[in-house]
């Protein structure tokens, strides 16, 4: 025990120091990788090796290799400074991307100089924020088992992983073809986002290697844009909860505005007892007899999709999968007449409705792309939100990332209210087996545990169990 605490305190001192150095090491390695072509990196490696072995010029001839490689590199770097051409780069980004789905976008590169340009490469840069110490400490390494002891302690691969996630995607450089003077060409660039949220593009860099092909000369232009990456979606079956369609007072226009008008179907003769406000005055004027408007009553289904954002002991990846499940359900087929209300607690209580002419799935997916775990509030805030809307809803779908006592209590109360519900728990594989249905024991078909890594299967099982 004492050794452990000593080790921990030692780590507490060493880690911040290491963190600063990681930044330096990372930036240096990125600079080398971008500025030097593969051949250039080989020459650089050879230079370093020759320098080490050629220290004593009397012993070996390695210093001659050093001198030659050094002059090659110096000439390369010097000629690379003569890259005076100007370009304009215009990006045409699509509306959305999806996590782990490759997407392509077009880039138009215009040559603003008087000379034709060849052997160019285009490097697109995404804004990369280096992780702070807290983030680094809290982050878990997904491929922890792969690393050896040293890597695990020092944590550089973990740090790299964080950097990669913050950036959001890795864009490979592409080769451009010959550009005539004042000409513009179009190129296609592919990238695969690794996390949801916004990808921030910062600069576009045109690189041209020197005559030896060792060092790249850069022309960088500011090109700030952002692209929204939607969460990963699985194919979910259409959700149908048992229960009735509640009468929704307000008809279609409830979905389009706040108001009281109802669907007007036809005219008919006045019958004694009809309310006066239903008289259609224009017809009355024409025909001289009271004519009354007929209304159609509206019934439709309204589900609440409740997302648990309270990430306490759970892992980040559980939360991400929960968001993906919510997105899958939002995209799943629905009967034309149903509404879906997404509820979750972020900085405030949020509720978004979609369906039936209410903005559609796009907006809900956008919202889900930006949802963050809530660390300030407690679970009771979610409980309040749900109870507030319990009267209007026909049913609830709960996506929970934890199955502790508080949540079980909450579910029990909801069940007491008599509403049909579907409870989905997203958990790690080792926790999944030990989950006790608790208050849902009587209706096991409405209780589903989705294991991280096997979500698609789990959602597929929902389809098979008939819910009537």
């Amino acid at each position: 025990m004492r050794d452990d605490s000593r080790a921990r305190s030692a780590r507490a001192i060493i880690r911040p120091f290491l963190l600063r150095n990681f930044g330096l090491v990372y930036r240096l390695s990125q600079w080398i990788r971008r500025r030097f072509t593969p051949a250039g990196m080989l020459v650089l490696g050879g230079l370093v090796a020759a320098g080490v072995f050629g220290i004593d010029t009397r012993r070996t001839l390695a210093f001659q290799i050093f001198a030659l490689l050094f002059s090659l590199l110096v000439l390369s770097i010097v000629t690379a400074m003569t890259f005076r051409s100007r370009f304009r780069v215009h990006r045409l980004l699509p509306e959305f991307g999806t996590v782990n789905q490759p997407l392509t976008y077009r880039v138009i590169v215009e040559n603003l100089s008087h000379r034709p340009q060849a052997s160019l490469r285009l490097l697109e840069e995404l804004r990369t924020r280096l992780p702070a110490y807290n983030e680094f400490k809290a982050a878990r390494d997904p491929s922890k088992e792969r690393r050896n002891w040293f890597d695990r302690y020092v944590g550089y691969p973990r740090w790299l992983e964080l950097v990669h996630r913050n950036r959001g995607a890795a864009i490979q450089p592409i080769d451009l073809d010959v550009l005539a003077p004042r000409e513009a060409i179009e190129a296609r660039i592919g990238l695969t986002p690794v996390r949801r949220g916004y990808l921030e593009f910062s600069r576009s860099v045109i690189a041209r290697p020197d005559p030896f092909g060792l060092f790249n000369a850069f022309y960088a232009t500011e090109n700030v844009q952002s692209l929204l990456v939607l969460p990963k979606r699985y194919s979910a079956p259409p959700i149908q909860l048992p229960g009735k369609r509640a009468y929704q007072h307000g008809g279609i226009s409830l979905t389009v505005s706040v108001g009281d008008s109802q669907e007007f179907t036809s005219l008919r003769d006045y019958r004694p007892g009809d309310p006066l406000r239903r008289i259609h005055w224009r017809s009355y004027a024409k025909l001289g007899q009271p004519i009354v408007k007929e209304y159609q009553d509206e019934f439709f289904v309204r589900y609440g999709l409740v997302l648990d954002t309270f990430l306490q002991e759970a892992h980040e990846e559980v939360f991400e999968e929960a968001v993906s499940v919510a997105a899958s359900i939002a995209c799943a087929g629905r009967s034309q007449d149903s509404l879906l209300d997404l509820m979750f607690i972020g900085t405030d209580a949020h509720l978004f409705s979609s369906g039936r002419g209410l903005g559609g799935t796009d907006h809900m997916l956008e919202v889900l792309a930006c949802v963050r775990p809530c660390r300030e509030k407690s679970f009771s805030a979610l409980r309040q939100l749900v109870f507030k809307h319990a009267t209007k809803a026909s049913g609830f779908i709960f996506i929970l990332i934890n199955w502790d006592w508080e949540r079980q209590e909450f579910i029990r109360q909801i069940r007491l209210a008599g509403l049909p519900i579907l409870v989905l728990i997203v958990a790690q594989s080792n926790d999944a087996e030990t989950l006790d249905p608790g208050p849902m024991r009587q209706v096991p078909e409405q209780f589903c545990v989705l294991e991280v890594g096997k979500i698609e299967e789990g959602l597929g099982h929902l389809q098979q169990s008939p819910i009537h």
Binding site: I65, A67, L75, S143
Partner: protein, 673 residues
């Protein structure tokens, strides 16, 4: 607009995926074999590797097998390192490095003969191996080991035992061969060639420079050590050990500047200190007390002796490290003038200490070389120490010194050294170990000035002539740049003084060519250092000019580099360049009706002139885009007829057809390539 596809994710990106051209590896291996005397093996290995270009069979080598081969090579490497380290220590490292091509041969062979032709990076690094990185967005990096193997061969070759210029020549040749396929397509031989030759030239100069740099650094380190350890500890030069001058000989730094009104026919000797006791390799002085000299009225003239013989004058400039320091003066100095010193001290042996301020000092010495005002000889000036008595006596007997008159004896000693002894350079880069005087006198018969001076002094003493040992500088080098004589550190000299005929005479038996020999071994970039030294001298002169007016024109020289920078920046500004024609491609042809339209000849001609129609672009849009200037005949009417011919189901009649053809002909006439 043209479109160029980059598939969103390819398996192989980055790193060295260029394959070495055929026979390059063989050349590298043979080069290595030649340099490390492993010709037989290298020929075998080269043959095996290059045969892959002719033999068609390939093995299907899986990732696991690659991993195993890589592990085997690594283990072999480690075993060999351990073995060699234990048997040969540090040298073992170099042997291992010579054998690197052997160690990695197996894995390169495996790659060359595999179906895939490339190796995954995970084969080489264990950390990348477990559960391959197939997380989304990661590319699987593959490498081609041929080029890195080539570089390894070159590195190993450099560790071989041959040392000749052929290595560099071979290196250049192989580099050119290796770099040619790597160059970007836009550069042809016209640019690449001269640049490569320039790189080779710079590399050659660089490697020469590196060799010289090492010697110079070693020399400098020794000289500075000497300065730190010896000179500063002994500001009054109470003692001097044999070898300390020798160490100075390693440095080319300019120490003194002497402005003599007339050209010097013989080297002028400036003396710093004199000694008369020699023991165990160290000369020391007996009671070298310093006394102050009072200046004349005005404070800038110090008189040491008021004799009235004809004199010469020289102006000496030197640097004082501290406020007080010993300065060299010619033999027989009467007066030191033109200096605003705080005080000047002298000692009976003729040494002068200047008390002024650190930095550049300049003084004029008025002297009469014939007469020297050193103190009269004392019995100490006749002592020959016990250690050398035997050898000195032997030589003295041989020369018959005891029977000769002092002058004749001195001549005999001079002849003796002249005929039998040679001057030997202090080897740069090697610490001058002290040779015993006896060895110098009896066996080797070659050394540098200290040995000559010491032996001379002792022999003179053996002949009964009082003799002393003096150290200082020999002024003989005239600098055209500075218009005065300069003395470098390596002009430091030692000589003997003999008391003949009631005055002290200089007896310098060091062969006169010593300065020439030293000069010859100077590095070629000495001139740059001299320039720099002269620059700082002028600057210091201007700074410290208290007596003489500093020369303002010297500052103008500082502006030269500024002008150079200005000129360079002006030159770098935009230049008008001519546009080059683009490469051409064949225009797209898919004719249906009107396939034989003459308009296509026009399209061809435009293609030859460098205008290419893009995919998805109609003819009209293309003509509008390329913006032909007014000198070309109009294409519009021809295009209209062509369109009619091609796309009008009614077609065109013969007359219109003829008109179109003739317009095309006219156009082609006017627009020759």
């Amino acid at each position: 607009m043209a479109i160029f596809n980059n598939p969103p994710f390819t398996e192989t990106m980055n790193t060295s995926v260029i394959k070495a051209p055929p026979m390059l590896l063989a050349a590298g291996l043979l080069f290595w074999g030649w340099q490390t005397d492993q010709i037989v093996f290298s020929v075998l290995m080269a043959a095996m590797l290059e045969a892959s270009h002719w033999l068609k069979f390939r093995w299907a080598i899986s990732d696991r097998e690659f991993n195993r081969i890589s592990d085997f090579s690594s283990i072999l490497f480690v075993i060999i390192i351990v073995y060699l380290f234990m048997t040969q220590s540090i040298d073992g490292i170099f042997t291992i490095l010579q054998w690197l091509p052997f160690i990695f041969f197996l894995i390169v062979l495996a790659q060359v003969y595999s179906h895939h032709g490339r190796i995954k990076l995970s084969a080489l690094f264990i950390s990348l191996r477990r559960k391959s990185a197939q997380a989304a967005g990661r590319t699987i990096t593959e490498v081609d080991l041929t080029y890195p193997y080539f570089v390894v061969c070159l590195l190993s070759a450099s560790l071989g035992s041959h040392r000749s210029l052929w290595f560099f020549a071979g290196l250049c040749f192989l580099s050119a061969w290796a770099l040619w396929p790597v160059r970007p397509g836009r550069y042809g031989l016209r640019i690449w060639g001269p640049m490569l030759v320039l790189a080779f030239g710079l590399g050659y100069i660089g490697q020469l420079g590196m060799q010289n740099l090492q010697s110079a650094v070693e020399g400098m380190v020794l000289a500075w050590m000497d300065e730190l350890l010896w000179r500063n500890r002994d500001p009054e030069r109470v003692t001097t050990a044999i070898g300390s001058i020798g160490r100075l000989k390693l440095s080319d730094r300019i120490r003194l500047r002497v402005d003599a009104p007339n050209k010097l026919t013989t080297p002028l000797l400036l003396r710093e200190a004199t000694y008369n006791i020699f023991n165990l390799g160290i000369w020391s002085a007996h009671e070298p007390a310093f006394t102050f000299i009072d200046p004349e009225v005005g404070g800038t003239i110090w008189t040491l002796n008021r004799a009235a013989t004809p004199t010469q004058r020289v102006t000496i400039s030197t640097y004082l490290k501290n406020e007080k320091g010993m300065v060299p003066v010619p033999h027989g100095t009467r007066q030191i003038s033109d200096i605003a010193a705080v005080g000047i001290e002298k000692n009976p042996y003729g040494a002068i200490i200047l008390d002024m301020r650190p930095g550049l000092v300049r003084y004029r010495a008025t002297f009469d070389a014939e007469s020297s005002y050193d103190a009269a000889p004392t019995p100490t000036d006749l002592i020959v120490p016990d250690q050398y008595r035997a050898e000195i006596a032997q030589v003295a007997t041989r020369l018959g010194l005891s029977g000769k008159a002092p002058k004749a004896a001195a001549e005999a000693i001079k002849d003796f050294f002249k005929q039998n002894f040679r001057y030997s350079l202090i080897q740069r880069g090697r610490y001058a170990g002290s040779t015993p005087l006896a060895d110098f006198l009896m066996n080797s018969r070659k050394g540098h000035c200290e040995y000559f001076a010491t032996a001379t002094a002792l022999l003179l003493r053996a002949a009964g002539i009082p003799a002393r040992y003096a150290i200082g500088y020999s002024i003989q080098e005239y600098s055209a740049l500075e218009w005065q004589y300069i003395a470098r550190a390596r002009h430091a000299h030692a000589w003997a003084l003999a008391y003949i005929g009631h005055h002290w005479e200089v007896v310098d038996t060091t062969p006169a060519i010593w300065a020439g020999l030293e000069d010859a071994s100077a590095p070629w970039w000495q001139a740059f250092f001299d320039l720099w030294s002269w620059g700082s001298y002028r600057l210091a002169d201007w700074r410290y000019s208290d007596v003489n007016n500093g020369d303002p024109t010297s500052l103008l020289w500082l502006l030269v580099p500024l002008f150079a920078i200005l000129a360079w920046r002006l030159y770098r500004s935009e230049r008008v360049s001519r546009s080059k024609d683009l490469a051409q491609t064949e225009p797209n042809r898919c004719p249906r009706r009107g396939e034989d339209s003459r308009f296509y000849l026009l399209v061809d001609r435009l293609g030859k002139l460098g205008f290419v129609r893009r995919q998805g672009e109609t003819l009209r849009a293309w003509i509008a885009r390329i913006k032909l200037d007014g000198s070309t005949p109009p294409i519009g009417p021809i295009l209209d007829l062509h369109y009619c011919y091609r796309f009008d189901p009614k077609g065109i009649d013969a007359r219109q057809r003829q008109a179109m053809n003739s317009m095309v002909e006219t156009w082609l006439e006017k627009m020759k390539v």
